[in-house]
Amino acid sequence: MINLLKKYKIILLLAGLALVLFLIKIFWANKPATPSVVERLPFPVFTQANITNRTINYQFNFSQPGNLPENLPVYKVSDLKTETFPEIKPDYVGSPVVSEDSVAIQAAKTFLQEKGIDDNFAGLSQLQYRQIDKSETFSASSSAQADIFVVNFWPQIKDITVVSDTPQSPLTSIWVGKNGKTEKAFATTFSFTESGSFSLRSLQTASQDLVSQKGTLVWLDEGENYGYLPPKTVLGITLQKASLAYYLPSTNQEIMEPVFVFEGTAQIQGEGAIKAAVYLPAIEEKYFLSPEP
């Protein structure tokens, strides 16, 4: 028997190997595949707000924002560009024609059409009133006081808003004067193609990940101050709202991924409470190329 084994050892070895391969095929092929290296995603690079501390104490004060999808596609982005249209008609004179907000929004959309910009880039709109004083503009409390209607737009993909560095920064913005003329504008456009679908973290997991300092504080409301502002020390953040968005990086990253956008109030050392926003990748952690920072 031993001799027989010795004699046919090579055949037996090959048979055994074939059996192993068979078993692998039978048992492993039906298991969900762990994404291969090529299917993994780069971790999105967020721009952190100007703060001093790394560790942030989070408190949560929001309810589940409806049914969140379990999976969402990511998109490959190309031709990303932000075009500015400065000082198109640098005069603010003339009879006021913008009587209602909707007139301003329509004027802005018309402007985009004239520039050949697709309607998709004017998905979600938001209106701000500003008044002119000297060479600056300042927030106005009502349309009656406004010299300029700032119409901001964010694109939407399947009802999910696309955000940039901060959720407050529009991707497209049109300044419509009270006289109906477009005073200045910028518009961000890009092409995108779907590139695989990925399962998302639950909101509970996302909250735990925030506590584990995996989120990035991307926005603190500095009001209308500007200049070389000193970094702030965040004592804690109470998050009051969570939503899903697509994050369009301003850097050369080609992937647009879903992110959780948490909004709330930050307690700042020496200043009190101001509005804040935090980003956290919405895709499950295991799909990323490198561990989260």
Partner: protein
């Protein structure tokens, strides 16, 4: 035994001052609103001479001044003081006393009247408000009374009251309507829709109420005029009314009326010394000058009541015609007869007139007894004069000067266009002329004494500079008097100096902090005098303004001033301040250490140092040096790792908590010390209570408790010490490294260690603009705007330098007539060096007399000259400011100015700061200036600049590092848009609203003067401009102090 003058003081002035101090009138001054205080001031003025206009607003405002006077009286009452000293000091006091009593009397009557008047005003207000409220309730019954009707009624009533005196004219009635409507809509329309629907209603009610109450208000005004005040106060009101009548435009702006009348009333005294015709002419000039004041124009512009130049003369003439009879009435009033002004003049002193100084031209008033040099520094209020008199003769003459002061200073405006005569002026000429010579003698003596001191010594520098400065002033004064004989008649040298020096000295430190760009305004004392006369000569604000604008050329008494950690060691006329650290070593240590420790700790160290008989800085220096050696040992210890201490150090390094070292050390120390003490105490107490057993128990308990509390107490104390010392150690280590580096044993680590090379690197950056450099440590305050360059002349200047010490710096100067022929060209070229070491002396160059008589358009005047360099130029920033002043014959206009500045950086200058605007071309102020409040309440921390050339260039002469850049699309929706921040050392600049993202990234180096972006309108901007901020040590500072002085954009 008291002398006779002491007796006099004791019985007259002292009780007078005491009663005034306790008077409810003055007690209330400190607590009552400013408006009432102003009335009191007017009342005081009515009985007092011009001197009290200086004293009252500044000193009598609080009772401390009275106390000071009393203190001085007490000193004069001290036993043993010679009679002549008391006399000298007390000469002016009876006069003061009389006026105090007069003021007290007037003020007391005023107070009684004020109570009644206040009741009348309150009743009137109540009536107006009730009228409006009733109307509103009837017309808008649905509105809530308390929340809407009542506050709206008060708002409307307030507007009605403000507009009442002028509501007669249709245009003013219309304005009233608009104001009321705007107020109502702005404040209430959002909450009360009925008001929005009935937007015309508030204005209708206002008009009705105005008509109904017009008579009542007039009665109120008449009552106010009837107030039991002195004639001067009545005159003030009359002046205000006259201005309002003759100048309807100004009438809409009560602030403007008050500003004008305040100036006019100050000239009333002059009526006593002039013919009516002269006085009228003088007053016309006064009003015209006031109307032309920038401040007045600003007030008028607030309500859109700007007055064209040609109209100003007409208005001034009207006003003076109206006011003159009033002034004459005043001058002949019984009250005026009681004042010293009307009481005749004291006899002229007999003085010998010494000869002119050797080698100099004959002086109009050359020489006088040296005693006047002693009183030179006695500027100020009578209180200051009291402290500074040193001789009986000086005191006597000062007292006379005070009495006659009102007459000799008043007619300056008049002096511009006419030559006053009369015996009083002749008398003053005799009285005060000799002062100039006396002072000249004094300062020549000071100069001679200084020159006998060791060459280069600090004392010599200081004394010599001071003497030269003053002699230069005296020279200029003599020149002026020679050229303008009338000036000598009015302005004795003494008086003129007094008028200059008083405001200069009092605002001296302020000026230094502001680092005013004054040198560009004028270049010589002739200009100062012209400006001084032009601005009216009297009135603190205007004199101050004039002096402020010219201070850099004046350069008075700044030598020896300690500005922050620096001391001014050298100031010459026409040059800028030269600073030197008080002591580099000590200063650097203090500067570094003090920044890092709280004030409480500083005080503590100072106290410890005082106990030890050391200076705080030397103590801290010692600690710092000791700790720096520890810091050197720290790294090797950490690397050794095997040893416990190194492990501990490594642990600490990892956690980065210096407090932990202190805590562990302190805790262990406390543990043992506490345990030991506890043991000793426990044994003693235990033995006393329970014998041997008690001693054992006490020993155990005491040791445990002592160790416990000792550990925690020591830990806390040690932690605190650790935190304190960690800051010191870092600085001290840096300092020691730098020191060693400078000795050659280590590479250069700090600016102090910069090697001094024989061949220096040079950067030449010519810049067309209007700035110069002042090296100072305090730039926080708002600067003064520079004058606008003339449109008829431009000046440019190039500089070439090989970079090799010993070679010349070649300057090429070009003056261009831009529109028409220019003549009488005067060029003043000032070069200043700011250096690591003692700066070189570079003389001022004045090209007057060496240039053609005229320059035609298209044929520019080009001048070249060289400045030789020597080793003292090493590590210096050579700043050159050129000013050209020309006449434009075609326009019959003189004094047109242009200026430019360029910089040559040699080696490693001590201070690297941003200089000038980041834009080239025709730079102007397009929006908000520094410190202006924006509509959102935010104080504008920078300056909004525009230019026809949009490229932005680094304002630094050297390389700077980029600290932050906002260049992502998200920046477009941020307030500053695309922006960049970069800097060197403590200086950081920010530029916002860039047209496109800067090409630089964080950490990049921007070479000195390099292009870094383009002006745009991104962010909150409504038009192309750059929001430019300069930070010094993290705090936004006034760009005006850094050569950014653009005119307003058209």
């Amino acid at each position: 035994m008291e002398n006779r003058y002491q007796k006099f003081l004791k019985n007259t002035l002292k009780p007078g001052l005491l009663s005034l101090q306790q008077s409810p009138l003055l007690t209330e001054v400190n607590g009552i609103p400013l408006t009432t205080f102003n009335i009191l001031v007017r009342a005081f003025r009515a009985g007092l001479s011009d001197e009290f206009k200086i004293v009252l607003p500044h000193d009598l405002k609080n009772l401390a001044y009275l106390q000071t006077l009393l203190d001085k009286v007490e000193i004069l009452l001290s036993p043993g003081i010679p009679e002549e000293t008391t006399l000298a000091n007390a000469y002016s006091l009876p006069w003061l006393m009389e006026n105090y009593e007069n003021a007290q009397k007037v003020g007391s009557e005023q107070k009684k009247w004020q109570t009644t008047y206040n009741q009348q005003v309150a009743e009137f207000n109540r009536k107006v408000i009730a009228g409006v409220q009733t109307e509103l309730e009837e017309k808008l019954p649905s509105l809530p009374k308390e929340e809407i009707i009542k506050p709206l009624a008060i708002d409307i009533a307030r507007t009605v009251k403000e507009a009442l005196p002028y509501a007669a004219s249709p245009e003013q009635a219309e304005e009233l309507v608009q104001r009321v409507t705007q107020t109502a809509l702005k404040n209430y329309a959002s909450t009360a829709k009925e008001i929005q629907k009935n937007s015309e209603l508030p204005a209708q009610i206002a008009q009705t109420v105005a008509q109904e109450n017009s008579q009542g208000f007039r009665e109120l005004i008449e009552n106010k005029i009837k107030a039991p005040v002195s004639p001067l106060f009545n005159t003030q009101l009359a002046v205000e009314e006259t201005i309002a009548t003759n100048f309807p435009a100004a009438a809409r702006n009560p602030k403007a009326v008050k500003a004008i009348s305040a100036e006019v009333i100050g000239r009333i005294h002059a009526a006593a010394g002039m013919s009516e015709e002269d006085y009228r002419s003088y007053l016309t000039q006064t009003v015209k000058a006031v109307l032309a004041q920038e401040k007045t124009q600003q007030l008028l512009q607030e309500t859109g009541t700007f007055l064209p130049m040609e109209k100003q003369t007409e208005v001034a003439s009207n006003i003076s015609r109206e006011i003159t009879p009033e002034a004459y009435k005043l001058a002949s009033s019984p009250e005026f007869a009681q004042t010293p002004l009307a009481g005749g003049l004291p006899a002229a002193p007999t003085m010998a007139v010494p000869p002119s100084p050797p080698g100099g031209p004959p002086r109009p008033y050359a020489g006088s007894p040296d005693v006047y040099g002693d009183i030179f520094f006695s500027q100020g209020s009578p209180g200051h004069i009291l402290t500074s008199l040193t001789s009986p003769q000086a005191g006597e003459n000062i007292a006379k000067w005070i009495i006659t002061g009102g007459l000799i200073r008043a007619p300056i405006g008049f002096a511009i266009d006419s030559i006053p005569g009369g015996p009083k002026m002749e008398y003053l000429l005799d009285l005060f002329g000799p002062y100039l010579g006396g002072m000249e003698q004094g300062f020549r003596r000071q100069l001679a004494e200084a020159q006998s001191l060791p060459k280069g010594s600090y004392k010599r520098l200081r004394q010599e500079g001071e003497a030269r400065t003053h002699l230069d002033i005296i020279d200029a004064l003599n020149d002026q008097i020679e050229q303008n004989p009338w000036l000598g008649k009015i302005y004795s040298g003494r008086n003129l100096l007094f008028r200059f020096l008083h405001p200069v000295r009092s605002i001296q430190l302020n000026i230094m902090q502001r680092s005013l760009p004054a040198g560009i305004a004028v270049s010589s004392l002739t200009d100062i005098l012209s400006a001084y006369i032009k601005y009216g000569g009297y009135g603190g604000g205007y004199v101050t303004e004039a002096v402020l604008k010219n201070f850099a050329s004046f350069g008075l008494k700044v030598i020896g001033e300690k500005i922050g950690l620096y001391e001014v060691v050298d100031v010459y006329p026409h040059q800028k301040y030269v600073f030197k650290p008080l002591n580099q070593l000590k200063t650097k240590i203090k500067e570094s250490i003090y920044k890092r420790i709280p004030q409480g700790a500083k005080d503590l160290v100072n106290k410890i140092a005082a106990r030890l008989g050391l200076s705080a800085s030397s103590l801290m220096g010692g600690i710092g040096i000791a700790l720096s050696f520890l810091a050197f040992l720290y790294e090797p210890l950490k690397k050794l790792g095997k040893f416990l201490v190194a492990m501990l150090a490594g642990l600490i390094a990892q956690y980065g908590t210096p407090a932990l070292i202190g805590a562990i050390g302190g805790g262990l120390g406390g543990l043992f010390a506490g345990g030991f003490l506890g043991f000793k105490l426990g044994v003693a107490i235990g033995a006393a209570i329970g014998g041997p057993i008690g001693a054992v128990v006490g020993a155990i308990v005491g040791t445990v408790l002592g160790a416990f509390f000792g550990f925690f107490g020591g830990a806390f104390a040690g932690a605190g010490l650790g935190i304190l010392l960690s800051g010191l150690a870092g600085q001290a280590a840096g300092f020691v490294s730098g020191l060693l580096g400078s000795l050659g044993s280590l590479p250069s680590l700090t600016p102090y260690a910069a090697p001094i090379s024989a061949t220096a690197l040079a950067t030449v950056i010519p810049t067309a603009g209007i700035y110069f450099i002042v090296v100072s440590t305090a730039f926080e305050q708002q600067g003064q705007p520079a004058p606008v360059q003339s449109e008829y002349v431009t000046v440019s200047k190039g500089a070439e330098f090989s970079g090799k010490i010993g070679d010349h710096i070649n300057y090429i100067l070009k003056v261009v007539a831009t529109k028409t022929k220019i003549t009488k060209i005067k060029i003043t070229d000032t070069t200043t060096a700011t250096c690591q070491g003692t700066p070189p002396e570079i003389p001022v160059r004045t090209f007057a007399g060496k240039i053609p008589q005229e320059i035609l358009p298209g044929a520019p005047l080009v001048l070249t000259y060289q400045v030789p360099t020597d080793p003292t130029f090493n590590d210096c920033l050579i700043t050159n400011t050129v000013q050209v002043e020309v006449d434009v014959p075609e326009l019959q206009r003189g004094g047109e100015r242009a200026f430019t500045t360029n910089n040559v950086s040699i080696g490693n200058p001590p201070v690297v700061m941003p200089i000038g605007p980041p834009l080239k071309g025709n730079v102007c102020l397009s929006g908000y200036d520094f410190n202006e409040r924006e509509p959102n309440g935010i104080i504008h921390n920078g300056i909004d600049l525009f230019s026809d050339q949009p490229n932005l260039y680094s304002p630094f002469l050297k390389d700077s590092k980029v600290l932050s850049v906002c260049k992502s699309p998200a920046c477009l929706s941020q307030p500053g848009g695309y922006s960049i921040t970069f800097g060197i050392g403590p200086y950081v600049v920010y530029a916002g609203h860039l047209a496109s993202p800067s090409l630089f990234n964080v950490g990049d180096t921007i070479p000195g003067g390099a292009l870094f972006g383009t002006m745009g309108s991104t962010g909150n901007s409504s038009g192309p401009h750059v929001h430019y901020i300069i930070y010094y040590n993290g705090k936004a500072v006034d760009p005006h102090s850094y050569g950014v002085n653009p005119p307003k954009c058209p």
